[in-house]
């Protein structure tokens, strides 16, 4: 991450706020990832299962691109608590989403509603 090391030099509050270059890099990567996700769905080139995997992977990658280039989260010690909060929240979301899907899937299977 050249962005992280370059922005560390001129920070004011101990928090980095990026540069024109890092915003442009993040923007270009995001545009490419977004266009790839829409193209994967609109071109119908892959089977539905593969397409779901591809767009999910693209979304996860783009989330991290946004977090690094736009939210300026980095590996510095100043942001240790930000990172802890972030990964705790992400973990909560994963437990909620996959927990709900698991429970409701089992419910519908056992209730023979499908």
């Amino acid at each position: 991450m050249s962005h992280a090391s370059s922005s560390a030099g001129h920070d004011v509050h101990g928090e980095s706020h990026g540069s024109f270059g890092s915003y442009l890099v993040g923007f270009v990567i995001s545009v490419v990832l977004t266009a790839a996700a829409f193209a994967a769905v609109m071109m119908h080139a892959m089977s539905p299962g593969v397409t779901i995997g591809v767009i999910s992977a693209l979304a996860v990658v783009q989330i991290f691109v946004h977090v690094i280039y736009f939210l300026h989260m980095n590996g510095s010690s100043a942001q240790a608590w930000n990172r802890i909060c972030f990964f705790f929240a992400v973990g909560c979301c994963l437990i909620i989403v996959f927990g709900v899907l698991f429970v409701m899937h089992d419910t519908s299977m056992n209730m023979m509603s499908r």
Partner: protein, 204 residues
């Protein structure tokens, strides 16, 4: 704005400022993480109900990907224009800051406008939130995101007006701007999940 050149030492007057960001910004970060969990629950509800059509239309029949792609492009563009505005603010360039924030506001406003047009179009065709569980979950999730964007728009206006007046001290304005910046970029991240897991996934 010559007096503002002395801002950095005033804002970070204590020696350990490199180890901790301002408590306001960190507190706001924690709020954003709770907001993340709010959206997580709404996504979980949508994932559970996405096939409960109750005889109504499926996502494939009513979603127009062209409009969604346009909304996505607008929101992504507004992220980078906001970023440039924040950079201008850090460089103490007031005119550029107001210009970039004005552009961001217009982009956000057109996003909300497009979303409202989509909603009214769907409701007019009888596919409102009361049509099926799928549509209830869809409207709740997407409208909650839209409500956040609308709040962000009001906030952008407030920050622009406050920086015009210059009544509040620069450090306070800057930490407010940092919070707003986090908020705005966070909403774009939520939108990544919306266009991927709501629109694209329903159309496959």
């Amino acid at each position: 704005m010559a007096h503002e050149a002395t801002m950095p030492p005033v804002a970070g007057g204590h020696d350990d400022h490199e180890h901790h960001e301002s408590p306001v910004v960190f507190g706001f970060w924690v709020y954003l993480m709770t907001d993340c969990i709010l959206f997580g629950t709404l996504f979980a509800a949508f994932a559970t109900l996405r096939h409960q059509y109750a005889g109504g239309p499926s996502g494939k029949e009513i979603f127009e990907l062209g409009g969604v792609a346009l909304e996505t492009a607008i929101l992504l563009l507004s992220s980078i224009t906001f970023g440039f505005g924040a950079l201008a603010a850090h460089a103490q360039k007031k005119g550029a800051f107001l210009g970039w924030l004005g552009i961001t506001f217009l982009l956000g406003l057109s996003f909300v406008g497009l979303e409202l047009r989509e909603f009214t179009h769907m409701i007019a065709e009888g596919n409102g939130p009361d049509r099926s569980a799928f549509l209830s979950a869809f409207f709740t999730l997407v409208a909650t995101h839209g409500l956040h964007v609308s709040t962000g728009l009001i906030w952008i206006l407030v920050v622009m007006v406050q920086s015009l007046g210059g009544g509040a001290g620069p450090p306070r304005v800057m930490s407010k701007l940092t919070c707003l910046s986090l908020f705005w970029h966070f909403l774009d991240i939520v939108w990544i999940c919306v266009f991927t897991f709501v629109y694209l996934l329903s159309v496959i």
